[in-house]
């Protein structure tokens, strides 16, 4: 028999907010997260509208591995702590918990630093300090080590739909009974080469663009959701933010639902926005929350940010939608208690 899956913990970190409720309030009050930033690394310095996290203002748990962690892993650690605190779960009870990381690019700045180490100094100059950060599952490793998470651990890497793909995996794992609890974390950081390349091909806005942007604004941050088997959650009197009714990557599977709210994945980039419109135009959903023009595009983490917003919105039946620039699609249906 399939188990019901609930979300019992939400944690997030971005420049606009460090809680789902604060993020929702800022979004509905039209507050923007981004400003013009200069990603300063020689030999080029360019300016972009972007949403960067100021790590100096972020409380981080104490960890012997902290100095090895790239920004994406630090964001993930902060978001995970918030989600666990929110769920009332002590770290001592996490051994059997699963862990899924969603990221498009991983520790981008460490990846670039590793490349620079041998671009500059030849093969033997390659840095052993930065090399582990080039493997995308490193964030899962750091989070698993910090919290003693010893259940199945996976890292998925696609584009904007990755977050909901990770959520879908965790949902299916709990429904089947193979896990009782999974921590799902989406995390993304920005780097000079990434920003430059994405701006050159017109996906993100650059300093020459003026508002309203016809492209996405890049954002970094992390969002963590703790998913549990409903019976276990109720047994330990955990807060239940929402029940995940369904997750799907097929556009026809959720088209019969009656939803009160759509959390949109539109980010201002025309081809992506058109894809979502093609799916949602046939659904009669009375309210749409389009958050990315305010928060920025979190890429692999964005589906989890969207789900967090869906959890704290007042509506009872929420559809969270995510399309990517290459045609992939993912959606999740939430039901509030």
């Amino acid at each position: 028999m399939a188990h019901d899956v609930v979300i019992t913990g939400i944690g997030l970190l971005c420049s606009l907010a460090s809680s789902a409720q604060a993020l929702y309030e800022n979004v509905i009050n039209n507050r923007k997260a981004y400003r013009t930033v200069r990603l300063a690394r020689e030999p080029f310095q360019k300016e972009y509208p972007a949403s960067l996290v100021d790590l100096s203002q972020v409380p981080l748990p104490s960890s012997p591995n902290l100095r090895k962690m790239g920004r994406a892993s630090l964001f993930a650690l902060n978001a995970a702590q918030s989600a666990l605190d929110d769920s009332g779960l002590r770290s001592a009870g996490l051994e059997e918990t699963g862990l899924v990381i969603a990221t498009q690019s991983g520790e981008l700045n460490n990846i670039e630093q590793f490349y620079l180490s041998f671009f500059n100094d030849g093969p033997s100059g390659a840095s052993p300090f930065y090399f582990p950060g080039t493997v995308l599952n490193i964030t899962g490793g750091f989070v698993g080590i910090h919290y003693g998470i010893k259940g199945p651990c996976h890292t998925f890497s696609s584009r904007e739909t990755t977050g909901l793909e990770a959520l879908g995996y965790a949902w299916a794992a709990i429904r089947s009974g193979s896990c009782h609890r999974v921590l799902v974390i989406g995390t993304e950081e920005l780097s000079p080469a990434f920003m430059r390349a994405y701006q050159d091909i017109g996906i993100i806005a650059g300093s020459e663009d003026s508002e309203p942007f016809r492209r996405a604004v890049a954002a970094e941050g992390a969002c963590a959701l703790l998913l549990e088997d409903k019976d276990s959650a109720l047994q330990r009197k955990a807060p239940v933010h929402a029940t995940i009714e369904a997750v799907s990557k097929r556009q026809d599977s959720l088209s019969n639902g009656r939803f009160d709210l759509l959390i949109s994945g539109k980010n201002g980039y025309g081809p992506l926005d058109s894809r979502e419109d093609a799916f949602t135009s046939s659904l009669s959903i009375p309210r749409h929350l389009v958050f990315k023009p305010l928060t920025g595009e979190f890429f692999g983490a964005s589906g989890l940010f969207a789900t967090a917003l869906g959890c704290v919105s007042p509506e009872g039946h929420v559809l969270v939608c995510s399309c990517d620039t290459m045609g992939a699609f993912s959606a999740v249906s939430l039901v509030k208690p």
């Binding site: 030999p43 080029f44 591995n65 090895k68 862990l99 498009q104 990846i111 670039e112 590793f114 490349y115 620079l116 041998f118 671009f119 030849g122 093969p123 033997s124 390659a126 840095s127 052993p128 090399f131 582990p132 080039t134 493997v135 995308l136 599952n137 490193i138 899962g140 490793g141 750091f142 698993g144 080590i145 919290y147 003693g148 998470i149 010893k150 259940g151 199945p152 651990c153 996976h154 890292t155 998925f156 890497s157 696609s158 584009r159 990755t162 793909e165 299916a172 429904r175 089947s176 193979s178 080469a193 430059r196 390349a197 994405y198 050159d200 091909i201 990557k249 097929r250 290459m326 992939a328």
Partner: protein
């Protein structure tokens, strides 16, 4: 919903083979070919060798930057006649560690050296891990969903396990699971910087082993429900009987010394397959040839199977090197050949078994033995552990 997931097609290209059958033959005859790379510099490194796919195995005109996606597309295309008619609606799971690394490396190099350069879509889009799946879906006109799994060296086995879970859950009828690894500067220099590369041979579990040798591979498995396979009269290569995964929660690159996490993954797989350790006829080890991995894996196997006598064990990496994200799938294919031919390949170069790795090794010469159940292990950076159990299906060819 089905209770049984099977593999009905498989193909592979490696440094020693350009097909499934030539791979099986190479495992029997001991063919293993490593060489110094011709496409990048290894000056100043302690180790220079890798297991590279010969250029003659790739479609004509393929450049190295696109080799990963071209090889996988080529493999699927040349098997399309033997796949089911609706194979293009199958879901696609790509297992990779470095993903689209060569194109990403080129992009970063250009970004930092050419201030006035303007990037094109053709350069940027392929630089992400998911671009392999995107390329394949477009070229092969595949309409199913796709997923890119990046669990380091456990990616391949994780991908098999995830596909199995999705089919059992009724989320999909069939999955094409692909693994690919193409060597370039980044992984080579990176593993060298961690002093993990062997300068001469890969000799897993040997007392004098000096490390791993990296390898290239492209491979796929077609997985589906047994009902679907039987309806169309497909030959069943193996049953994916069980899958187990765990995290070490110990160290970011080294395995947990006692092998506790790995043992947990093995036990989870046995439980999932509903078999006891006694049922395992052969273990295809992760067996990288590094001091720490081989020792940790030995401890893990002993925890699960007892101290006295393990099932026969060998490492495919001694033939084709460590193919990183593709390793789990190459080793599943080696396990499938073992199930169907009774040939258990040896661990090459295992001439002086390490007394601390005292397992039942198959070394030097192959062993011929009818087997029914194989365990295949994969353990990766970040403490990712994944284990799959494959069974011979009654009536399998």
């Amino acid at each position: 919903m089905t209770q049984t997931v099977v593999i009905t097609a498989a193909d592979i290209i490696t440094s020693n083979a350009d097909s499934y059958h030539s791979f099986a033959s190479a495992l029997e005859t001991g063919i293993s070919v490593s060489r110094v790379p011709s496409s990048f510099d290894t000056t100043g490194l302690a180790a220079h060798k890798g297991f590279f796919i010969p250029s003659t195995y790739a479609p004509a005109g393929t450049n190295r930057e696109e080799l990963d996606r071209h090889l996988l597309t080529h493999l699927i295309s040349r098997n399309s006649d033997t796949l089911p008619r609706n194979w293009q609606s199958a879901d696609l799971i790509i297992a990779t560690t470095m993903g689209a690394g060569i194109t990403g490396q080129s992009l970063i190099r250009r970004a930092y050296t050419c201030e006035e350069y303007s990037f094109s879509r053709e350069e940027v889009v392929p630089s992400f891990s998911s671009s392999i799946a995107e390329y394949m879906r477009e070229r092969l006109q595949m309409s199913g969903t796709s997923l890119t799994v990046c669990d380091a060296c456990a990616s391949g086995t994780s991908a098999i396990g995830i596909a199995r879970q999705q089919i059992l859950a009724g989320m999909t009828d069939c999955v094409i699971v692909c693994g690919v690894n193409i060597l370039f500067e980044m992984p080579f220099y990176g593993f060298s910087s961690l002093r993990l590369l062997a300068p001469d041979v890969c000799a897993p579990f040997d007392l004098y082993r000096k490390g791993l040798i990296l390898g290239e591979a492209a491979c796929f498995l077609y997985m589906e429900s047994i009902e679907q396979a039987q309806t169309r009269g497909a030959a069943i290569l193996a049953e994916v009987a069980g899958y187990g995964a765990s995290g070490d929660a110990d160290h970011i690159t080294a395995p947990q010394k006692r092998g506790d996490g790995a043992a947990r993954a093995m036990r989870n797989a046995l439980r999932d397959a509903r078999v006891s350790p006694d049922s395992i006829d052969y273990i295809n080890a992760h067996g990288t040839g590094t001091k720490f991995n081989d020792l940790a894996e030995t401890h893990a196997i002993k925890q699960v199977f007892g101290n006295q006598c393990s099932p026969p064990v060998s490492s495919t990496k001694s033939y084709i090197g460590h193919t990183l994200g593709a390793a789990g799938i190459t080793e599943a294919i080696a396990s499938i050949t073992a199930l169907n031919t009774g040939l258990l390949h040896p661990t090459l170069h295992l001439t002086t078994p390490d007394p601390d790795c005292n397992l039942t090794h198959i070394s030097i010469e192959p062993r011929y033995q009818k087997i029914r159940t194989v365990m295949s292990n994969s353990f990766g950076f970040g403490g990712n552990n994944a284990v799959v159990i494959l069974k011979k299906h009654e009536g399998a060819s």
